[in-house]
Symmetry: D2
Subunit: 230 residues, 4 copies
């Protein structure tokens, strides 16, 4: 799973000018030079009391490569997100598939909505990887055979598993990203518990790290106030 | 592919009261009894000049069963759409898979974005169905084996192809539905050409028929003005 | 300020079928007959852990009459809301204006973002009402004079104060309504403090009462879990 | 009316990489160096056939000063727009009001939804300006008196006319901006007729000019294909 920030215009200052227009009107841009401590305070106040709109005046585009089952969950995020993805109708898809790394916990316990996971045995891991690789290979062969027989790509792709990697650009702002992170990461300090699938969490963690570098004060406030999107 | 309208509150009158508040304010509900010809005229005017908001004050929920590759396209519609789908994390998925019917055109021509399709030969159709069924069976066996070995459903499902059927509820309003239909159906009288994949079009056609029964004047205006969402 | 529910298709059962599709797939409608206690439990679980989408498959339309300054705040709610409002371009606006009732607290203390209010004196209340009525009358006279002189309504209305009443239809679902209520009401049991202007809160309270009658289990869960929109 | 572009990350190249991910997947960034003629062709194709999403991966923030009646129309644009505005609750508003310039056509003809305007006489213009200035002054005096008497700003502002100037930041992307422009400007070459109020059109024209400088190919394609948002 890879995540690259390919374009952005996002900084803590973008939150500040937007927030200060409430009280300073047309002079809000000049207010930006105010002392940094006050700025930290303002961002924390906005986050804590859930004034969300000042966090929307910024933009980040990520190029993400992940399996289809990750994108299936990803695309359910509607507000403040834009997507363009590789097309199985326009393009012959390449045989790059997901198999769990050795540290992926494979065994689930508990009830829907709050699964806990534990390590599988080495045998379980090996069996999983083998079962996946065999199935992936069979499917991709069937795909290739249909293409060779002149069948349209959009039809032939029906046999490709959701473990297939795809590529997409996803554009968001700090507010929509925080909403995504609050649901797609699992952290001790989160006020609201989330139980994301590990694979989308791996994408989310990379996005969070890159966002935190752009907007450190906003990220710190998000952490401090329990990882709830304002 | 099946589509059932499971709940709705949607009628042409819902467009009329919303539109008439512009000119009649608080008396807009009483205006509803105005003569039907005027109502048809008003709906046509709104559609033609693209006054979209009066078409939003209504609601329809469809229960849809279709392959994952259809839902993948479906979920890209964000504004005015709500979704809840069967979960491969919470539930063991059932082995119901898509194969093209004999009348599905299998061979594509032309460039990306504007493919045309022609009938395949009988041999091509047979080969497609066989290739799919074999691949589906192999994958589902691998899925079952992993589950039997104690692997979590969310991991094991990676091998399931996008031809697997899923179920979802999708809620929309007339405006968001028209936008969907303008992109996901291909019609002679459409002002803007669309080249949807046939399988999502099959879903769209069923939705359109059920919507047209609820809002016949609105549907007629949509047809008359080139199937462009207002 | 008046609020009438003019159309709706909204019930607790709409939350249940949507939530149960995750685990029951195509059988989710049959699951609706499950015992009521389980249903209450499910709705509470969804609310507490912030699974928001099942609360979107329902629809309510309110006809609201309130001053422009209330609608100005109202229209900032974007996701899950549809609006149609009386038009000052299409219609001569009627002279109905807002003045505070005797119980409206008139004096504010504290800092932006968390004002507290206290009663004004009787003299303050009287002065306010008189100042408003005089200003409103002058403005409406100027409006009438311009109209009489042949000036376009859209130009003449520039002099009309934001205390003027307007009418609109607003359509939402339970999720977008809860988000609105969490910001536009001030309650002891709210987990996140809000400081709405009293006038929009008066609208919100009427909407909440009408919604609670339609979806009592959902409303109770909203109350129980701190009035945070899921 | 003033419009300043205060931050942006928007260029024609942002459309190209997003569009090319469909066919080039993970190699879409490298494709950017393709010859310019092909790029123009691609943007025109996307615009004509209404492939909208590639136009969303960019961002522009405008600081806008305009009368409240302009912002009232502006805030009805929901998808792809973020707003933060000066607050009449947090701040004492300044007495800057709108009066029409001599070239503002003051007299309307025709039916709702398609007004045409003609010049007023000099006397009409003079009367309008005088009526407005008198009303504005009276209202602002009432506002000041109430504030002096200790009445809360949020209450006192009820007397302020919608001709009062306010300030806001508005953030959008090329797609949401084109949708706005298609409705809020009136042009000969527009495929769908629009009848915006002149004052919001003045804002729209300034926004369009600043956007066109950032994304000239996209703007040219918008013009060429009838000013319909894709």
């Amino acid at each position: 799973m890879t995540v690259s920030l390919v374009r952005s215009a996002a900084g803590d200052a973008d939150v500040l000018f937007a927030a200060r227009v409430s009280t300073a009107g047309e002079a809000s841009l000049e207010e930006l030079s105010k002392d940094p401590e006050k700025s930290t305070g303002l961002i924390n106040y906005l986050m804590r009391d859930r004034h969300g709109t000042p966090f929307e005046h910024n933009s980040m585009t990520f190029l993400i490569q992940a399996p289809i089952f990750v994108f299936r969950e990803f695309h359910r995020h509607r507000a403040g997100w834009s997507y363009n993805e590789e097309s199985g109708r326009y393009r012959e898809l390449q045989p790059v598939f997901y198999t769990p790394a050795p540290d992926r916990k494979l065994v689930q316990h508990g009830r829907p909505g709050k699964y806990e996971f534990s390590e599988g045995t080495e045998a379980q891991h090996q069996q999983t990887v083998e079962a996946m690789e065999t199935a992936y290979r069979k499917c991709y062969e069937a795909y290739q055979e249909m293409l060779a027989a002149g069948i349209a790509r959009e039809v032939a792709r029906a046999v490709l598993p959701v473990g297939l990697f795809s590529s997409m650009y996803a554009t968001c702002n700090a507010r929509s990203l925080m909403h995504f992170l609050s649901l797609r990461t699992k952290k001790e300090n989160a006020k609201v518990p989330s139980f994301p699938q590990r694979e989308i969490e791996m994408v989310a963690e990379q996005m969070e790290a890159q966002w935190a570098a752009l907007m450190p004060l906003t990220h710190a406030a998000f952490e401090k106030h329990g990882r709830v999107a304002p």
